[in-house]
Symmetry: C2
Subunit: 242 residues, 2 copies
DNA sequence: TGGTATTTGTCCGTATGTATC
DNA sequence: GGATACATACGGACAAATACC
């Protein structure tokens, strides 16, 4: 592990362990560089990551303040835009709950003009189209529509789609999933939504649209996930630019 | 303006002007440091900001790839978690549309245990509570419930709440709004929601919960915004940690 | 009020490691 | 293997905001 990653991990764990209180200041950069025996640059690299994730905030002339203590054990499944379904379950400590994935469609397609408009993949490109339903405790919560570039996510199969496509991409294909760009909106439930999800009286679904990029900066996935509104939580951080 | 900010702004404008195509590479860091007559540190500071906003992605050993061209003229109002209502209108080029704000409640309160649980302000703290309804083209789209720390947002009035509280905080109180932490979920519409918002057949609203921090790392605002589901879009970027 | 020390912000230069071509 | 490009790390200098006496 890199030096700055060790420092990042150490500080993060101390914050999570409440070793530094909310609104308290970390030791000064000067003190910390001595403690970690590193240069100020390296320390600040670690700090900037923590700041990016919303753990701390540097205040000019004063110090570095702790502004966030993550909470565990939410009642709903909290998503953050980049994780796989499985990852979210783990982070939310809900793996003891029964999770299941059902494949409705597994197909290979060629992008036509309609698909181009939807996915923004170029016309003529070969893609996989996969439709899956996600269950927790036997309740259908999410309908996933995934479109993958075939040349990047080679050799996808039904079996892989049932377990974890992201794991396949990262472990087997050895590609890194780096970044997503997403939007969330609400749509009226379709016939299919009503059929598959037990909406418990709701007449709408939450639709998360995602564009996913690998470590080469290539978009290899477009997906629309239709979520049961009662079990949908999305969270994040935002920074104001000056 | 700082040197790295100039470089950031210059590169950003060039990307937006499509001077660099999607998936194309920027000139190498070496070339750019010469062009901008700066150190590699300074250039990388600028690049890291662009990466954070999802414009570029560095690829080890290859170069820095453009991965995003912002789009304009969405049909819905796109929010990003940190802007004020007014800011969003401007960014979405919808200021020519008629925007209006109505104050339903303007009150000073002291945090009790129930409010503490809701807002996470400590018991006994003095706060402002403001309930507002946001209209675009005479259609009620958002019900805002804002809670402000009175000691930080001093001197708030109804008149200010009708125009722009954020403008007051930044221009008059000279405080900077730096960061928000937010979550989004869907809730069944309440009586009040149905009364105020014309939900056009929807039976639910989008609820955005925000914790807002100033440049001192102090949380000074808690708010819940109940959005008309048909006119709600939330978008952002997420990065996967390794 | 003012000066000094502390703390973070910006910027520079250099060296070495690692991935890609 | 060599050249190129980004990643990590060290060190130093000065500016700007803040705290303290």
């Amino acid at each position: 592990m890199k030096k700055y990653q060790k420092i990042y991990a150490d500080l993060k764990s101390k914050i999570e362990a409440r070793e530094y209180e909310l609104e308290a200041f970390l030791p000064s950069e000067n003190v910390m560089t001595k403690h970690y025996d590193c240069s100020r640059n390296t320390l600040r690299n670690a700090l900037s990551q923590l700041a990016q994730e919303g753990y701390i905030q540097s205040i000019h002339g004063k110090g570095v303040r702790v502004i966030f203590h993550p909470q565990r054990n939410q009642s709903r499944l909290v998503l953050d835009g980049i994780e796989s379904f499985k990852d979210s379950l783990v982070r939310n400590n809900q793996l003891e709950q029964q999770a299941k994935t059902e494949i409705k469609v597994f197909a290979e397609m060629i992008v036509n003009s309609k698909l181009e408009e939807l996915t923004s993949f170029p016309i003529g490109m070969e893609i996989y189209y996969i439709q899956r339903v996600r269950y927790i405790n036997d309740q259908a919560l999410i309908i996933d529509h995934n479109y993958f570039r075939k040349d990047i996510v080679e050799g996808l199969t039904k079996d892989i789609a049932i377990s974890s496509i992201y794991k396949y991409i990262e472990k087997t294909l050895n590609q890194k999933i780096v970044r997503t760009s997403w939007t969330i909106m609400v749509e009226k439930a379709t016939e299919e939504d009503l059929e598959i999800l037990d909406l418990e009286g709701f007449d709408c679904v939450c639709v998360a649209t995602k564009y996913v990029f690998n470590d080469q900066g290539m978009m290899f996935e477009f997906s629309k996930s239709r979520h049961h509104p009662k079990h949908f939580v999305f969270s994040g951080q935002a920074k104001r630019n000056n």
